[in-house]
């Protein structure tokens, strides 16, 4: 388990099994198979195109995340989601780094195209403990230097919900209910934590977490739109290159056997087996 992505695959797979068996997720086996195969296939073709070795882990993680979050009616939407998710890693790049968390980008693209939906309420509140432990365990094994973004987000966003409740004079049951959300934990542990699309320096990541929390609050409580976390992440990811420029630091690399190359190298893809969790 030298590569934290193996652990992520196991956790995401277990959550998916739990969701399908215990929570009756509206995702069929054919959708799961389609998402996984199309994601792997797209990664394979794209790897060949840019001439880097094929790595199955990242696309598998991306596709499992899509299985957990994306709900579609048609097979074409399912295929499209997997293609957009993986292709975004190869096509939308800045300074040798992909800009968006691939799953996040794929989900938002499908929402914009009105080809599918995300059910933030699907987890209920019973799954909370399982989630929290999976996430905490993940961070322990992960030991990635990027766990700070998760902690920072889990500090800022609840603080925001709490502050709002105090300002409105609402009982604590309301922010607690808002926090007992599987969607929130999945986002915090498995999406915003993506080391490939968060700023390189710690201070940058904490700033990033703050921006995501504030944007999500704005979308939820001012614009009254659902899926505020996904929208907030996609908006703030566009600022990551700017934060990296202001607060430069060394680029994150997965703990794999592939020798690192310099960022200036035109084949710099090789040093960046893409994405964590949802990448």
């Amino acid at each position: 388990m030298s590569d934290p992505r193996h652990y992520q695959i196991a956790v995401l797979g277990s959550l998916l099994a739990y969701g399908c068996l215990a929570l009756d997720f509206a995702v069929g086996w054919h959708q799961i198979v389609t998402l996984v195969l199309v994601a792997l296939g797209t990664q394979m073709l794209a790897s060949r195109w840019v001439d880097i070795p094929f790595d199955w882990r990242s696309p598998l993680i991306s596709s499992l995340s899509l299985c957990l979050l994306l709900r579609t009616e048609t097979a074409s939407a399912t295929v499209l989601a997997a293609v957009i998710t993986i292709a975004s890693k190869f096509l939308i790049r800045l300074r040798g780094k992909h800009v968006f968390n691939p799953t996040n980008f794929g989900l938002i693209a499908i929402l914009l195209l009105d080809a599918g939906w995300v059910s933030p309420g699907q987890w209920g509140s019973a799954a909370l403990a399982a989630f929290a432990f999976a996430g905490l365990g993940g961070l322990v094994v992960f030991r990635a230097r990027r766990a700070d973004v998760t902690w920072a987000f889990l500090l800022f966003y609840p603080a925001l919900l709490l502050a709002r409740a105090i300002w409105l004079g609402d009982p604590m049951a309301i922010p607690l209910h808002q926090l007992q959300s599987g969607a929130l934990l999945l986002f915090a542990f498995f999406m915003i934590s993506d080391p490939k699309t968060t700023p390189d320096r710690r201070s940058g990541r904490i700033l990033f977490a703050l921006l995501v929390a504030l944007t999500a609050g704005f979308i939820r409580f001012v614009l009254f739109q659902p899926n505020e976390l996904l929208w907030a992440l996609v908006c703030c990811s566009m600022l990551t290159p700017l934060i990296d420029r202001m607060l430069p630091a060394e680029r994150y690399r997965w703990q794999t056997a592939i020798p690192p190359l310099s960022d200036s190298d035109p084949t710099a893809f090789r040093v960046q087996p893409k994405g964590v969790l949802a990448s």
Partner: protein
């Protein structure tokens, strides 16, 4: 430092998991004077498209009409034309159309091949001050009477307020009996920039209408908020409240985003006696399923394109009825199916709520999911004859097992005692496997 942050956050997470939910409030109705309100079963239809919402609200209020008074938080101020009184039959029809249904099949002669569907039983739910002075006083309390209208049998006042204590005082002075905790909830709505819609019954108008019940109130407004304020109602209601929400949207199914939406169990075979007690069955099933989910879910009972149904518990609503319910986008869409309504997708949601399990108002989203769903329960009557053939013999042998399965299903769905169910079925001449010697497994291999 790092460890401290980690510890703090971990503590927070544990607190989130362990903290007992704090009681809150919900709902629509606020009692005036000391009348008990019977708002246990409210029905709300929400027609919504493109940020425009039409709410139709009905409850089964059975108290004295002069005691009736409601306060509804609304996102915007409302002009006279934005308020309407609807025909109660619209919601009754919506209810009948979307109700869980019992389908009855009669087994064909096992020695002949034919299949008839005979009957569909629709399942209805069990039957289902002086102005100038008031304005001056309101002003002094930081409450603005934005408008006053008489619409149908209702006197309606639209209020906005700066502070909850001013609003609370004003409401109390005008004869509203507010349950404890109301001030806090009203304060929250004020800060969320909500306005207040007050309605009382105008007895003269009511007498002129000649109806003995209150017709549903309708309001139309434009707001990005796709929600239903349920917090006020739990303040005065005793125990849990029942709420049916029918959404009429253009693209697809509606679900709650801050509570889990669960499909009601459907498409199962149940014993024949359920036909006589279908109302009880539905109620028991709903209660048992709610209990199984710890009362924290919203049930989806129906989701269908309004153009048709199969089997139909009631006809789909006509174009005119839909328009009365606020479906304003019909003109834009092409007419199909002999002029029947198109581009209207209905979702029926059903929940039993209290402040503890539903602390927050219901938030909705429309999905692009337009797959159809209905609560459908099947009674299969066995073929009465013996069926004079090999297949007929096997058919008879399988019947007891089938009955047992139906009994188990019913017990599982409703929480009824399996023994009682079996006894009731046996009273109707049904046999169970224990009474029927089983055929050896190898008999059917080569024969």
């Amino acid at each position: 430092m790092k460890r401290q942050i980690l510890l703090a956050v971990t503590t927070l997470c544990v607190a989130l998991i362990a903290a007992p939910p704090v009681a809150a409030f919900c709902g629509f109705y606020v009692a005036k004077a000391d009348t008990r309100l019977f708002n246990e079963a409210s029905q709300v239809a929400i027609a919504r498209h493109d940020g425009k919402t039409v709410l139709t609200m009905a409850n089964d209020y059975r108290g004295e009409l002069e005691e009736f008074a409601i306060v509804i938080p609304v996102p915007t101020l409302l002009e006279r034309e934005q308020i309407n009184v609807a025909d109660k039959r619209l919601l009754d029809h919506l209810d009948a159309y979307s109700s869980p249904r019992l389908v009855e099949y009669y087994d064909e002669n096992p020695c002949r091949r034919r299949f008839d569907m005979l009957k569909v039983a629709p399942m209805g739910r069990s039957k289902t001050a002086d102005v100038a002075e008031m304005e001056a006083r309101a002003r002094s309390l930081g409450v603005t009477i934005e408008a006053e209208y008489t619409v149908g049998e209702y006197d309606i006042v639209i209020l906005s307020a700066r502070e909850s204590d001013g609003l609370t005082t004003f409401l109390k002075e005008t004869g509203y009996k507010l349950p404890s905790g109301a001030e806090r909830v009203l304060g929250s709505y004020i800060r969320q920039d909500m306005k207040f819609f007050l309605a009382k019954v105008n007895l003269e108008e009511q007498a002129r209408q000649g109806t003995t019940y209150l017709r549903p109130l309708q309001v139309a407004f434009e707001s990005p908020k796709f929600m239903l304020p349920i917090r006020l109602g739990t303040l005065n209601a005793e125990g849990q409240q029942e709420l049916f929400v029918y959404t009429l949207t253009r693209e697809g199914r509606v679900e709650t985003t801050n509570y889990r939406t669960v499909k009601l169990p459907t498409d199962v075979d149940v014993p024949a006696f359920v036909k006589r007690d279908f109302g009880k069955f539905y109620k028991a099933m709903f209660e048992e399923q709610t209990r199984k989910h710890d009362g924290r879910v919203v049930f989806q009972e129906y989701a269908w394109n309004m153009a048709w149904c199969d089997p139909c518990a009631a006809d789909p609503l006509s174009r005119d009825q839909l328009q009365q319910l606020g479906v304003f986008w019909l003109d834009e869409s092409p007419q199909q199916f002999g002029g029947q309504a198109q581009q209207v997708f209905i979702t029926r949601l059903h929940l039993r709520y209290d402040g503890k399990r539903f602390p927050e108002d219901l938030m909705f989203q429309e999905t692009s999911d337009n797959s159809n769903f209905q609560g459908r329960y099947v009674v299969r009557h066995p073929f009465p004859g013996y069926g004079d053939c090999e297949r007929g013999r096997r058919y008879r042998e399988q019947l007891p097992e089938r009955r047992e399965k139906e009994a188990q299903t019913l017990a599982n769905l409703t929480g009824w005692e399996i023994g009682d169910i079996r006894a009731r079925m046996e009273g109707e001449g049904v046999e169970f496997p224990a009474d029927a010697p089983k055929e050896p497994w190898w008999k059917r291999i080569w024969n």
